[in-house]
Point group: C2
Chain length 274, copies 2
């Protein structure tokens, strides 16, 4: 179910710049018993994304109220749902240059909860090492923009149903992220996660995990990470706002004991609380 | 005016993957007296683009017939029009991974001819050197996909009405293209144009210009080009399928005599014939 600029509907003007250029940003938010989880973090990233792209700032109060309306009308009583928000620059023009005074388009949509996640918590997941690389561009790094062909190509690489997620590197072969998640390694009791200044998305759950690490007195290293280092890691996990933390049991041909001790401690904190 | 999957309309399902991820390709084609110019080159690139992205091959005969229908119903008698084709992977799913059996969406649209082009032919254009860079990813290089945020950011950089186009470099500072054009330099009588194996779009007019160069016995160098080399060039021009060849009179603070002799010879050939 969907609200487009506040109105129930399923269609968008075909002149929208999201259609023509992927000219916008989005957020995917877990909704637990009607409460969007990590709302302020998501809004913060949305606002930063719009600023980086020069899109008029979204009214986050209006987005919150539309999300509530949608839940009330179509989601009431469902324990878990996925809320997706899209802000595009709006409709109009032929050509890359944004016309002045274009009003942004906002899409607020509710989706069912992905049921496969429950199995993933039990046994951990298997990661494929993707051949598709993430290109480096600091102008677009970090934000959750709508130009996602690299993620699509990467997530199309495997057919094996035993593989759950793909790990993506940059052109230099450094690990950046999963196709739909951020990645953390536990090495000698410390947390290591890729720096995302050149590419990747700064996940809201990634920020939450880093906070949880600090809370537990775990040393955090945000840095360039080589793929080979992950094979030597004691524990490996991915995270995103829907799944929270999910342990990795296999990367390529390398296996990890699941769940690892540190992963389990972090998962307990990030699942319990906002 | 627009046909969406063959039907006159202006709206698209908001679940379309073009909206969510920029998951598709497009073409922008000049239509002279009802004849799409360079149709086969455009179809060839569209087919390659779909293949690279794993999108079902478009029926190019159907696209041609829909373009004819649109012209007959809405464009008849207009000497010059712009035809835009978009092929998206289609509608459906939440998540990057394409669902099996999704039918592609096709949009066929007619736009008015850009009138400013006539002035550009007379006096040449002024190029701004963009700060926004093009990221390198061979998986996406060459094709005209819908992930165009870099071009949008670059074309938003200037407000000066005297500037007509922006020149974009890759992260290494090598020249790649204009925000909406390919670029050629004439140096000591030879043609030089950037290699596009890592980023940029292989323009249909770029291919036509290279052919015209061969026809005129001009040596062609497709290679890595430094920005500084362009300042030293004898002539500079940009091209795209709508504008054909347009001479550059100014790049940053450097001026060029317009029109240059080689530019003029190439422009005469590419404007005259398909």
């Amino acid at each position: 179910m969907m609200l487009i600029n506040g109105v129930v509907g399923h269609e968008l003007p075909a002149t929208d710049r999201a259609v023509h250029y992927g000219d916008g940003v989005f957020e995917t938010i877990a909704v637990f018993n009607g409460q969007p989880r990590g709302w302020h973090r998501h809004m913060q990233r949305l606002v930063v994304g719009c600023a980086k792209l020069g899109i008029s700032q979204p009214d986050t109060g209006q987005l919150a109220s539309e999300a509530r309306q949608l839940y009330k009308d179509y989601g009431e009583g469902q324990a878990r749902l996925v809320l997706k928000l899209i802000i595009s620059r709006g409709s109009g023009g032929r050509g890359y240059r944004p016309a002045a005074g274009v009003a942004p388009t906002r899409i607020v949509a509710l989706y069912p909860w992905p049921e496969h996640a429950y199995d993933w918590y039990k046994v951990g997941i298997r990661l494929h090492v993707c051949e598709t690389r993430l290109a480096c561009n600091p102008a677009l790094a970090g934000i959750k923009h709508l130009n996602r062909l690299e993620n699509i190509l990467a997530s199309s690489e495997w057919q094996d149903k035993d593989i759950d997620e793909g790990l993506m590197c940059n052109m230099q072969g450094e690990v950046i992220a999963g196709t739909m998640s951020n990645v953390f390694a536990v090495i000698d009791g410390s947390l290591h996660t890729p720096s995302l200044g050149q590419c990747g998305i700064t996940g809201t759950m990634r920020a939450r995990v880093i906070e949880a690490g600090v809370e537990l007195g775990i040393r955090i290293n945000e840095r360039a990470i080589q793929l080979e280092e992950l094979y030597e890691a004691d524990e490996l996990f991915v995270c995103n706002s829907i799944l929270s933390i999910v342990a990795v049991r296999q990367l390529g041909e390398h296996h990890y004991a699941v769940p690892g001790v540190v992963t389990q401690r972090l998962a307990a904190i990030t699942r319990e609380r906002e």
